[in-house]
Symmetry: D2
Subunit: 468 residues, 4 copies
């Protein structure tokens, strides 16, 4: 699925440091290890002498801070940062985060990962009260609600505001006194806390970012929690008690980095297990197993191990074909998968190949890769997908909100097999997926959000309900 | 070795199209697949209506042609292109290739891969005759020699010029009438020819670039050949008969892309065989085998297969840490390998690990990766290098010209083992390497340049002889 | 005063087109002729198919639209634009105008010239109601007030909002149905309306911009007016009847372009008259008259004409020393006036010179120019200022809010004469200025804001009252 | 003529400092005051510790050195610099100067103002000897000739080289030991020498640049001189004795800055005299005199003074319409003179106007300005040109090499008057021009090159002879 990067994207990575030397430098390193979660924009807000400064722009983190003197302007011992994916047309600078609110009496910086499902309704209500919104993203909404509250403390106001929100959110909020972390009631998005050698704290969307700054993992943030990190240390509060764990299964399948642990489970290990379970469910008598680099290599190695088949490097990815690579014209565009992936003829020629992919979204890539392998001389190509058919749109933080974009919602497995020109096609079962990830929560599906595959959304969809 | 990218670099990739639609677009695609051979500069010269236009600049190919209208300016049915690595300080625009010479009576474009060993002497002689050189690279030299010749045809002049040159070179030259390919007498650098569907020809440093434009491999260029491609087709000529095959062994070990074939041998397959042979020579009773991504994965899979040990993904590479990534400051710089590579704790924790790397140059990376694995909980780390100790500088096209940069020229294997803090360290033998690659030429070392390992240079070093 | 450009700056120029072909192209031309009113940022918002798109950025107009394809994206037959000067530190992109408000139910674009005097109070009140402000400029305020109103029509809401505001403002507002122009109750800032050949309308801060797009001057906007321009034509409404004309006298003295007419009076002609009146009040028996280019040339020609003295080009301005010119270092910085202005020795050598300048703000430039003329051989230098001593800060749209920046508020004329090392120094009287401009309004000072010179502010200063 | 800037351009300004603190900073200031002589490219080469470093690029000087750290890299106490105009299509970076030649045994930097008339022949001859040229400008030629010479010293070699050259040239050459200045045998281009307070020397195309760095004018360089400036001081040598003064009359008419002195004559004063003489030759009974800003203001003031007519500011120039200003589209392009110049209606309305311009090249501007004045209400427009009809192309350093571009070579004065729609048209006579400038050399035309007007070229045209 690595080639469908524009069709399936998480919306953000967030990262924060409280009370450590080089807070913005560490944020730069941490955000860089979260760059896979969003490549459209990046920014860091740092607290220095009780003032917050923010620098952000469109582009990769390294592009935003290409001039290192920008980073040096962000002095201070606390900071929050954000990397953003945005849907096309809305990649305006005003949507890049962290958002920095400059009130007459205080400054607040905010970074958000997720998608609210009742933002349209709330925004409309607030506009009727005369409020003005400046970004088209829904991340700004919380602050309006907070400012409307007449509670005594910021923490209490935050709780009031959070209780209005529906959908998926992990918030990181910086004030002159504290850093707050809040997670939605289902825990759709991962977010973890670590400690630093010098006594500081680190918060990140994935544990790989805690590792990247030399932090020690402390704990995951749990559904409904509102955690305050200040000079008094870590205070665990709750904005709601009505919680039900439903972590996004696509984080394990595709989004997260293999070296991250989510709720205690290593992502690579879960993916390998998906390959093992898929091999048990849908074995093939083949010569070699090949994974689509890089996201499907874990599953491929599990599949090959289970069936004792050689795991081979039959496809390689061109590291210089990034987002900025443009096919010169339409005629050449159709061959574009060839620019991103190449088959090693010496490996696949004359072989019965099992091709592992982590998931299928639009299906265009699958078709191209099968062709690529056949052109390289593969005798047979058996496509194995290490997740169930992706049939239902997502509304909690992934940019697929339309059934029509999902090939599995329109075609049967047999029809897809014909379309892709593969010799056989099989998907991992839902049970196989749940077993592979291995969460043990008491909630339905062991605490996983499986709605991509079965349409069983963990909560009412509010503004999106009609799209179901 | 992926992390020592600045310390060991080939100097170029060259690519050409003769007589095909979209010559410059195809050159863009072909060069992009050769981008791993040089990231400092890129350019394309295209022939249109008997006039040659050239666009080139500092940066990656996609940066140079970020404005696609530039590519559209390069109309015509023939083109040559170049991607360049240059030593620091000399990455001036005047050194970026192709070089376009604008004479009163003709235009000639030239692209060069390799390094001449007598350029200093020749340049000094020509300056005494009043010649002026404009680039600090030695690629310009050939044209001075050609222009001095009083032979009747350009092809004859070229032969005269080439006979003055010593060292490694693959030239691609474009005139209004033909495209010429010339290879040095030892064939240090790979260069291959393919055909296109519409009757055109393609020439490239590696066969992966022929694949990238949908070409069909025709033949490799052989030592001493001067090939003319024109509207009359392909004409194979020789500028010398005194040839002795000595293809650079580092192309197989590290430089070339795994899906390329060099002299008929697939690079991935050769690397896998290096892993197999290394396993036979220096086996370890370990739990898992891990390769340094991406260049050592082939060798790691061979090593694991031979010993029937699990081949695991224990290290992952951060795709967003490219050349442009800068550590914010010195204190953080020492941890930089952590930004490029991460260990998956779940995989390595408590394990006896065999770590495969393709080669060791300065040794700084090896030390860091061993530490990375130990920090992730590895019980033992056995380092296995899929090539012999790199002890001698290179003068035929790689930017290592100083023994002092090579750790293996200063320390014994035992000393290196101590330095890296590995539990054991072993290198592939020279015989093992030669067997792995599997060339069958009658020349010494089966036609390989093995001087990196044994100092047995295939020819006299001229200007560099004193450095031996 | 041309060299004190950073110390005295109007805050904006605004321009709009309703219902004409090429609305954004005309806006580009119109704004370019208003560029002297603000060089920090520029933008255009265009209405197309009932949707408003806005492009804006930091820099000169030609820099913002360097890529002409940006302008082509702004299709549509109506548009408003803005050029901005901003005080240092606040030249953030979020402050660049037009501001585009994206409500759930409508879009509104707004451009503002002027400065509100009660914005701090209003903003604080609105924040208490939960409103959030996103720019640090006060231009956003009006929209909050409009959205709070429960009146039936946008026009009625606008009136409610405008009635909250104090200070100087000229607003240009674009909705999908109409373009609105509103002027404060004193008419501090100039703004005029013209017609286009094809039936369209043009609105601009100065008439030179109407000329620049080939428009025909129709009328000036008057204090308290709210004009609606729609497909039904021009509708003149009033948001208040309590008006008192007090047009900014500095527009005539320095800000406006000489070819503009303000309230029917040509700026060049007014300046020339200032020179004539100054000659009557403070004649000098000199050899030649010289003006500081370019803003003081009109006054100099009037002065010379009145006294029948030769008007000479003794100073020339280096057109390549713009805002982007930076003195390499401090040592050279002190000589910077020499980079901007040069004296023609052949003209001034041995002469008794009258040097005309339009005004004196900080006085640093005056000192330098006198020295420049003396170094060039002038025998005597008599400084004549074509406006009264500038003693009081401005709060209605000019970036001087501090008495300490004004040399005339600290020193007597004699002390200034000593400081500048001039042979004599004289300023135009207040009466002379009023007579020169020649407005005939019944209000005090013939309808001019003369507060710069006498501290007699046309209205209470609200948030700034304490600074008086 | 200010609006025909693209049709008549001098090719360069050169500047050098020997042995002074801040050599490159002073060069930056000096070149900035020469920016009017060329806006396509700029560069500075500085000598530090006997090594020369050079930084140059396309664009204005302030753009090339926008990053001030570049200037700081150019340490050292001696430097030469260059601003360049280049004909379209050849504004390649390889043509930007100074040229820095890196020989095995020495470095030489060279800056050139002028145009050689036998470069094609010389280049062709040298190419036959095997020489390779890298720029398309002819500035590189001298160095090839110098390097071919077998004379003992660099100074002797330079003399040999210079004796091969025909046409116009002022060279500034920097070696590790000295700075050399050489002028062609006719002294077509101005170049002057000054001294600095700290004992250093300054060399510049115009004296305004000597003033700009606080230097004291020492002497002009004379035809045939080769001046060596070294730590031993100033040594005046001659590369030829066959000299004949023929300074370019267009320098006085249009190119040079009014505050510069050329061969002891102030440019502004000469222009004013042109206006006076023109008034004597072709008086008009008019109401006011207007000059085309900025280059024709001197002549206009002379004209008005002579006839005792009011000299009025009837046209103003938009300072923000520079080279980078692009008309959005063709339809608007035709009105482009309106963007650059505006008429002040209050000044010209109902008046009989004399419009002074310095010269007419293509005539397109004249037509537009007459229309601009008529549209503003002028009753009559009498066009007076302060130089004779420009009929013959130039080959010594101005980019007009084609008769067809010159309106005066195709039309009679009466025909031009009709074309421009002026009420009358008159040019200054050749005698009037010569008298105005006031050179007193014994050579023909008092030492002026008058070939623009009479085709009497001071020397044979060599490669261009056929174009006469």
């Amino acid at each position: 699925m690595s080639n469908e990067i524009r069709s399936l994207n998480e919306e953000c990575g967030i990262f924060g440091i409280w009370n450590s030397k080089q807070a913005s430098n560490l944020s730069y390193l941490g955000l860089n290890s979260l760059q896979h979660r969003g490549q459209e924009g990046a920014g860091i807000a740092a607290l220095n002498n009780r003032r917050i400064n923010c620098i952000k722009n469109i582009g990769l983190l390294t592009q935003v801070f290409q001039d290192m003197s920008l980073l040096n302007q962000l002095n201070g011992s606390s900071a929050i940062g954000h990397v953003r994916y945005s849907t096309s047309g809305d990649n305006k600078i005003s949507n890049i985060q962290p958002l920095l609110f400059e009130f007459t009496d205080e400054q607040i910086a905010l970074a958000h990962n997720g998608n609210l499902t009742n933002s349209k309704t709330l925004k409309s209500d607030l506009e009727k009260r005369g409020h003005i919104f400046h970004s088209t993203s829904d991340s700004e909404l919380l602050m309006h609600l907070v400012r409307l509250s007449d509670k005594a403390t910021f923490q209490e106001k935050l709780k009031v505001g959070l209780n209005f929100l529906k959908g998926g959110f992990a918030y990181l909020i910086l004030t002159k006194d504290a850093m707050y972390v809040a997670l939605d009631r289902h825990g759709f998005r991962p977010i973890s806390i670590g400690t630093l050698n010098d006594g500081g704290y680190v918060v990140a969307s994935e544990t790989c970012a805690i590792d990247a700054v030399g932090g020690e993992f402390l704990r995951d943030v749990l559904p409904g929690e509102l955690i305050k990190i200040s000079d008094s240390g870590l205070e665990i509060d709750h904005w709601t008690d009505e919680t039900k764990q439903a972590i996004c299964s696509m984080e394990y399948i595709y989004f997260a980095r293999p070296d991250s642990n989510i709720l205690g489970i290593n992502v690579h290990t879960a993916r390998k297990k998906m390959g093992i379970n898929l091999a048990k469910e849908s074995p093939v008598d083949a010569d070699i197993v090949i994974g689509v680099p890089n996201s499907s290599l874990s599953a491929a190695s599990g599949y090959s191990e289970q069936l004792n088949l050689p795991y081979e490097m039959g496809l390689i990815k061109n590291q210089y074909v990034g987002r900025e690579f443009i096919q010169p014209n339409q005629e050449l565009r159709e061959s574009s998968v060839c620019q991103k992936l190449s088959a090693i003829k010496g490996v696949v020629k004359g072989k019965k190949v099992v091709l592992l992919d982590d998931s299928i979204v639009r299906g265009t890539t699958s078709k191209r890769i099968v062709k690529l392998l056949r052109d390289a001389g593969a005798k047979e190509v058996h496509l194995r997908i290490a997740s169930p058919p992706f049939k239902y749109p997502s509304f909690f933080g992934i940019d697929i909100q339309n059934k029509d974009e999902l090939i599995a919602s329109k075609l049967s497995i047999e029809e897809m097999n014909n379309l892709f020109n593969s010799d056989s096609l099989a998907f991992l079962s839902e049970e196989g997926l749940i077993d592979s990830i291995g969460t043990k929560f008491s909630e339905k599906y062991n605490g996983l959000d499986m709605s991509y595959f079965n349409g069983d959304y963990p909560e009412y969809l509010y503004d999106y309900e009609y799209r179901k």
